[in-house]
């Protein structure tokens, strides 16, 4: 049983991304090929590949990632229907048309409950687009042939064929607790009965059309449970129309929890009321656990199986908001009529935002959240993540997930916007960290803490201790090497590189063997003892003179040299961390040039770190890359990069181009900026 659970969990999770379904149907006959070709000709021109930069939150920080999905153009103006999980939470969207044109797009609206989103193509010049036609998904029959179109694995547009396997597929209850597909807190299966089919789909097919042989879109591919699952077109069209009209889907909500009739109940009609949400319209109307709902408005209610739950939920959600509706229940065998007035249903979760100064991710308190957190109202800001080491984490006590910030310096906080402006107002033009008194509610307690807002980021890591140094690299003279060099019994180190300084001036050369310093033997005979020489040197003061006993071939020599100061390490170079694109560069140290074999004439800065989930990481800038130019202007040090990037932020272009050296190659990196004009 455990094996089955785990298997399904991974399938459900992975399927939204990468998992192939089972093999498709047999190869079509010539007649079938013609039919397929005809169907394809009606839909393929409106198929788009969607490349997005999605945003997610992790440990109190916003993380950006590249992702890819599919979509279908449904209006001549360029509206595209796809999945919410493809494009619902993005910072940039680019659609690739079948003509291979890349057209930017913006999000019109998104609905996590149905997993449907609508985009609008934004071509540089106004134009019309080829449109796919919605079919009637309610007339689909099991066994009917269907085509799955999309961009599997982010490859070019593709098609697979199969048959409809199931017209009312739900997540099987036996796989509890993994039988729910939740997006942003919404249980998609509560209103969706998927069209199950065996046309192979892969990650990247998400949002692509499921097409009948008439060339009509009958579904939007979404999941795989082994079988692929598509959201029926009738639901997709209803949701897409609402999103295009208002940017959101208005749904009725009564807060009634129903379940299939119990097998032991002996009742054959109605739906069992499991309970009501506290304070909901259903609770106010007088529904109680154990009621059997038989009629809602004009509709007879029958929920005997799990497959019928989504139909009931959709019925409720279509009820007119704010208009009383009559419901008939059986209570202890007696019919009772109740009047319930649906509320406007709110999304389960509010948008989560990053508040960098506090080091948290946070959201407004939705009605659902207020109920779950048992709050009397929706005022305040709900903490969704805390960044380790940031102000909220370092506060005593630290803020935690699900704390609700209700006041800052005793001024009430209503929502994320008011919190942001309160903090900005306090720290505006300040350079020193500012202690801020924060009132927050945790469960039933009202608590205080102090956040030090405006704490500095990465601080100066401290200078490296300067030591006496000889500018040579060495290896231990093992017994075996000594014998082969014809100097058996000698111990010491062999010079493997001369980097200048007094070592070069004193005439040390590669191949010289250093056997003693001021008469003290350099006792290194094992490879791991190569640091003996430099360690001995480090015991001296900088600027002191030492006498090295050396051998060049079999000739003994004496070399006097004045000890240099150890060079500045790479770590001690000046740095610049770009907060917008999230990369850090530093000036190039001499050691870097040696290691990277960068010629002295080539100027630039070295990339020291690229934050995962930032714009620079998305552009595939890597640690160790050397940035030579920004937008065509050469950069010689971190000050130049800082100045250039500040200009970029002020100008807000859609992309920045870096000229980069990586090893022996140079190339250009085009970095998206996320700025919208």
């Amino acid at each position: 049983m455990n094996l089955v659970r785990v298997g399904l969990a991974s399938i459900v999770t992975v399927t939204l991304l990468h998992t192939p379904t089972s093999a498709g149907a047999q190869p079509p006959s010539p007649n079938q090929s013609a039919e397929v070709e005809l169907a394809l000709s009606k839909v393929a021109p409106s198929l788009v590949r969607i490349h997005v930069v999605t945003v997610d939150q992790q440990d109190g920080r916003e993380i950006k990632r590249e992702a890819s999905g599919s979509g279908t153009i449904i209006t001549p103006e360029g509206h595209v229907v796809t999945n919410h999980h493809v494009a619902g939470k993005t910072r940039s969207i680019i659609c690739t048309l079948p003509t291979r044109e890349e057209v930017p797009a913006e999000l019109v609206g998104t609905d996590p409950l149905a997993d449907i989103a609508v985009l609008k193509l934004k071509p540089s010049k106004p134009r019309t687009f080829p449109v796919a036609k919605f079919g009637d998904s309610s007339t689909l029959k099991v066994g009917e042939r269907v085509l799955a179109l999309g961009s599997p694995l982010a490859l070019s547009q593709s098609v697979t064929m199969g048959i409809v396997s199931n017209t009312e597929m739900i997540m099987p209850g036996m796989f509890w607790p993994f039988n729910r597909m939740t997006l942003d807190g919404e249980d998609v299966g509560s209103i969706v009965r998927w069209i199950g089919h065996d046309a192979a789909i892969f990650g990247g097919n998400s949002g692509g059309p499921l097409v009948n042989m008439k060339g009509e879109m009958v579904g939007v591919n979404e999941i795989s449970l082994g079988l692929a699952g598509a959201i029926p077109a009738d639901l997709a069209l209803e949701v897409a129309t609402a999103l295009m009209k208002e940017g959101r889907v208005r749904r009725g909500w009564i807060g009634l929890e129903v379940q299939p009739l119990l097998k032991s109940s002996g009742t054959s009609r109605g739906a069992l009321v499991g309970g009501t949400i506290e304070g909901s319209p259903a609770a106010r109307a007088g529904f109680v656990s154990g009621d059997v709902l038989t009629k809602l408005g004009l509709s007879e209610i029958n929920v005997r199986f799990g497959e019928e739950i989504p139909l009931f939920n959709r019925l409720v959600m279509r009820l007119p908001i704010g208009r009383p509706v009559q419901a008939v229940v059986l209570r202890n065998g007696v019919e009772k009529t109740l009047t319930v007035t649906p509320d406007d249903r709110e999304n389960a979760e509010a948008r989560i935002q990053e508040l960098v100064r506090l080091g948290i991710t946070a959201s407004n308190v939705t009605s659902w959240a207020a109920k779950e957190l048992r709050r009397a109202d929706r005022n305040g800001v709900r903490v969704r993540g805390v960044r380790p080491g940031a102000a909220a984490d370092e506060a005593k006590p630290s803020l935690q997930n699900d704390d609700v910030i209700v006041a800052v310096n005793e001024s009430d906080i209503k929502d994320v916007t008011s919190l942001e402006s309160a903090i900005e107002g306090l720290v505006h033009n300040r350079t020193e960290p500012l202690p801020v008194l924060v009132t927050f509610e945790r469960a039933s307690e009202r608590m205080l803490t102090v956040l030090e807002v405006g704490r500095p980021g990465v601080q100066d890591p401290g200078m490296e201790a300067r030591k006496a140094w000889v500018a040579v690299s060495v290896q231990a003279l093992t017994r075996e090497i000594a014998e082969q060099l014809g100097i058996p019994g000698k111990s010491g180190v062999r010079v493997t590189g001369v980097m200048g300084g007094s070592a070069a001036a004193a005439g040390l050369k590669v191949g010289d063997v250093i056997t003693a310093i001021d008469g003290d033997p350099v006792q290194a005979t094992q490879p791991s003892e190569s640091d003996v020489f430099h360690t001995m040197i480090r015991q001296y003061k900088i600027g002191s003179t030492v006498t090295l006993r050396t051998m060049r071939g079999k000739e003994e020599r004496v070399v006097k040299l004045t000890l240099d100061s150890s060079p500045r390490l790479a770590r001690e170079m000046k740095k610049y961390e770009d907060p917008t694109f999230e990369f850090r560069v530093r000036d190039v140290a001499e050691a870097d040039r040696r290691e990277l074999k960068v010629p002295a004439f080539e100027k630039g800065v070295l990339v020291e770190a690229v934050s995962e989930g930032g714009w620079a990481a998305l552009a595939h800038l890597g640690d160790g890359d050397m940035i030579l130019a920004v937008d065509g202007e050469p950069v010689t040090d971190v000050a130049a990069v800082k100045g250039k990037m500040e200009k970029v932020v002020a100008a807000k272009p859609s992309a920045v181009v870096l000229h980069v050296r990586r090893g022996i190659r140079t190339f250009f990196v085009e970095m998206e900026t996320g700025f919208t004009k």
């Binding site: 380790p388 980021g457 201790a465 791991s528 003996v532 690229v610 934050s611 890597g622 640690d623």
Partner: protein, 258 residues
């Protein structure tokens, strides 16, 4: 420990009392240090993961002005980890690197005061980091005297002073060890019988300081498949006591870096 067992009961008791006095005298010089780190992991030059982390370790105040020394490997564990992890990998595209950058350092004194601190000097060679309170403390701090040092002999008892962490209520701690080895090459290090924490001082029963516990790390070369079974030695790492005079020598540079 061996010496304690072999010694006569009374002499051992006297020595224990002396060591207890040493611990009592210097316990306030042992402070906790809380470091917030940005940890970045890269493979083949590409960051694969980054996270923020917080570590708590122990350090020793060596000057009444607040100059404090600790083990660099507790302040910057990434460098040591990188060397260890790259032991068995092949080409440049497989090279792992872990960088840890302190973003906030705070000293917690014996009396519970918390002082923001700044890193003033690092010595990778000797695994030393020197920190100092960002603002001058109101009163001089208890500080161990590195100049009053002595060299132990093999099997001498030493008491290592430490401080428990948050769970232990930051209580002062003392652990008795004996000197198990004395390295002379490439420089003098004392090695204890048993594992001790770093950043803490070791004293002889006569009250003289031996040095500071740090980590000595060398390139272990290509580790054998069973290298881990050799313990830290297999990874090229060994905890050592760095003689107090060596700490003092570097501390002079830290004092100059005010």
């Amino acid at each position: 420990m061996v010496a304690t067992v072999l010694g006569s009961g009374a002499r051992a008791q006297d020595q224990r009392t002396a060591l207890r006095d040493v611990a009592k005298k210097w316990q306030d010089a042992i402070v906790s240090v809380r470091v917030s780190l940005k940890v970045r992991m890269s493979m083949g030059g590409r960051e694969v993961q980054s996270m923020d982390d917080t570590l708590e370790s122990v350090a020793t105040v060596i000057d009444p002005s607040g100059l404090t020394v600790m083990s660099l490997s507790t302040l910057d564990p990434g460098t040591m980890m990188s060397r260890f992890m790259n032991t068995n990998v092949g080409g440049a595209d497989q090279k792992m690197s872990i960088a840890s950058e302190p973003s906030d350092v705070r000293m917690r004194l014996a009396d519970g005061r918390e002082l923001p601190a700044t890193i003033v000097l690092r010595d990778q060679d000797l695994d030393l980091a020197f920190i100092r309170p960002t603002a001058k403390p109101g009163a001089p701090l208890t500080a161990v005297n590195l100049a009053d040092a002595a060299r132990p002999a093999i099997l001498d008892d030493v008491v290592v002073l430490s401080r428990l962490g948050r769970v232990g209520g930051w209580a002062p701690a003392a652990v008795l060890y004996s000197v198990g080895a004395i390295m002379e090459k490439p420089r003098t290090f004392f090695v204890l019988n048993g594992q001790a924490g770093t950043g803490t001082p070791a004293f002889l029963a006569n009250g003289k300081i031996v040095g500071l516990l740090t980590i000595r790390q060398i390139d272990p070369g290509r580790m054998s498949m069973f290298g881990m079974m050799q313990g830290t030695e297999g990874a090229g790492v060994i905890p050592v006591i760095l003689p107090a005079a060596d700490v003092l020598e570097i501390a002079k540079q830290a004092s100059e870096n005010r």
